[in-house]
């Protein structure tokens, strides 16, 4: 059976760990478009176009597309979500200042496009963080839509993707529409 690669979008505000997540999971060299940050965003380098990584599993491919976190690049969402099977939205638990922006992204995309998603909560090892339940309340989501992840830990990143893929499993109705089409 011949399968097309599966595309997953990794989005979120600046500094949430999107590039790290893709680097950790990718089995090929990651294409990065990092530049020196021209404003104070808590790190020296930041993604200005997209990150792209490929995950090869048993002869199948998952394409990981990371969106830039800075607001002026939000027009990229439309390009990157085209044909995606799922969306991972990363937020940093110790940076509540980015929650409002992340919620805007998630609400906009999910009210327009029926895309399976998970909220990946990073930096939960920091000293002062919002708990998962609190972040879920802020986003108006059940806590089952959230998962803590260390973006540097390959097994944790794989577990997160596994959870997203569970949500990508077609329902009976989807299968029927594929057959009809």
């Amino acid at each position: 059976m011949d399968f097309a690669p599966l595309k997953v979008v990794v989005s979120g505000p600046v500094g949430a760990g999107k590039s790290t997540y893709i680097r950790t999971l990718s089995t090929t060299t990651v294409v990065e478009t990092d530049e020196m940050a021209t404003e104070c965003i808590g790190k020296d380098l930041t993604t200005v176009a997209l990150d792209f990584g490929t995950l090869h599993i048993d002869g199948f491919e998952v394409l990981l597309f990371g969106t830039p976190g800075q607001e002026r690049f939000d027009f990229m969402w439309s390009v990157l979500c085209e044909g995606a099977a799922g969306l991972l939205l990363l937020v940093a638990a110790h940076r509540p200042g980015s929650f409002l922006k992340a919620r805007h992204i998630l609400e906009f995309i999910t009210s327009q496009v029926p895309i399976p998603f998970l909220l990946a909560v990073t930096h939960t090892d920091q000293e002062r963080v919002w708990e998962l339940e609190e972040i879920a309340d802020f986003f108006g989501l059940p806590v089952t839509d959230l998962l803590a992840v260390d973006a540097r830990d390959r097994s944790a990143c794989a577990r997160m993707l596994h959870r997203l893929l569970e949500r990508c499993l077609p329902t009976g109705r989807d299968e029927q529409s594929r057959v009809t089409a």
């Binding site: 059976m1 509540p96 409002l100 906009f108 009210s111 895309i115 919002w130 077609p170």
Partner: protein
């Protein structure tokens, strides 16, 4: 458990609604003053300013009217057992927020949902909205039963897109509406032509990035079950 932040990043009404129906003390510091709100099961039961308890209900409302417009200072919410959270009042947080929001100046664009983000009304909810918001609500309610965005409400409400965004955000904060997400497997939402026309006719400030995102043509892919299953089996080996 901790909810914390600064009001320039999370406005007071957002921060307070994030506490849900939890019991505890919401404190915020605006030097040199320290304010403490005592919350129990979604009720405001007390307010202290620099340790001094507010005892007049009108003063409590005045404090809230001032608080919702504050955009400086830091806050934190400390949970506590219900019996440790006491005070002279029992005012529903959402009601007193609604009262405060009715007097608020306009919110900044960064605090607002996108013009195309779709909301729906929450059934069996009621709140005092103030005259202006009540008029918007009455005109928008029917559309909101089936889901409507700020841009799509321009025609029925007579409000500009920007104003409709403001009203929807206020309705969200007082618990009258929530985002209507599309369930996987359902069709993507076509962009209504009137929404695009209305939005393009409205001047929007630099920085409202959502206006630049054009979702036309986005279609998610429903992958085949065998592919997803095999990928999941492969991934599972990485963390087992």
């Amino acid at each position: 458990m901790a909810i914390f932040g600064s009001f320039d990043e999370i406005p007071p009404a957002e921060a307070l609604t994030a506490t849900g129906a939890a019991n505890g003390v919401f404190s915020f510091r605006r030097p040199p003053h320290l304010h403490e709100l005592f919350l129990r099961g979604g009720l405001v039961v007390g307010w202290k300013e620099d340790g001094q308890l507010v005892e007049d209900i009108m003063q409590l409302h005045a404090h809230f009217a001032e608080l919702v417009s504050v955009r400086d200072g830091t806050f934190q919410f400390r949970r506590a057992p219900a019996e440790q959270v006491s005070g002279p009042f029992e005012v529903p947080l959402r009601h007193i927020l609604a009262s405060g929001l009715a007097h608020q100046e306009e919110m900044s664009q960064s605090e607002l949902p996108g013009p195309l983000t779709v909301f729906e009304r929450i059934e069996h909810r009621d709140a005092w909205l103030g005259e202006e918001l009540q008029v918007f609500w009455e005109r928008a309610e029917t559309r909101l039963r089936h889901g409507a965005s700020a841009a799509s409400l321009v025609e029925v409400t007579g409000a500009s897109v920007g104003k409709a965004q403001q009203y929807l955000q206020r309705l969200r904060l007082v618990g009258m509406v929530r985002v209507r997400r599309l369930a996987p497997g359902t069709p993507a939402r076509p962009r209504p032509p009137e929404a695009r026309a209305s939005w393009e006719a409205t001047p929007h400030p630099e920085g409202d990035s959502i206006s630049r995102a054009d979702l036309t043509g986005i279609r998610p892919v429903v992958p085949s079950k065998p592919l997803v299953r095999r990928l999941m089996d492969g991934l599972a080996r990485w963390f087992r």
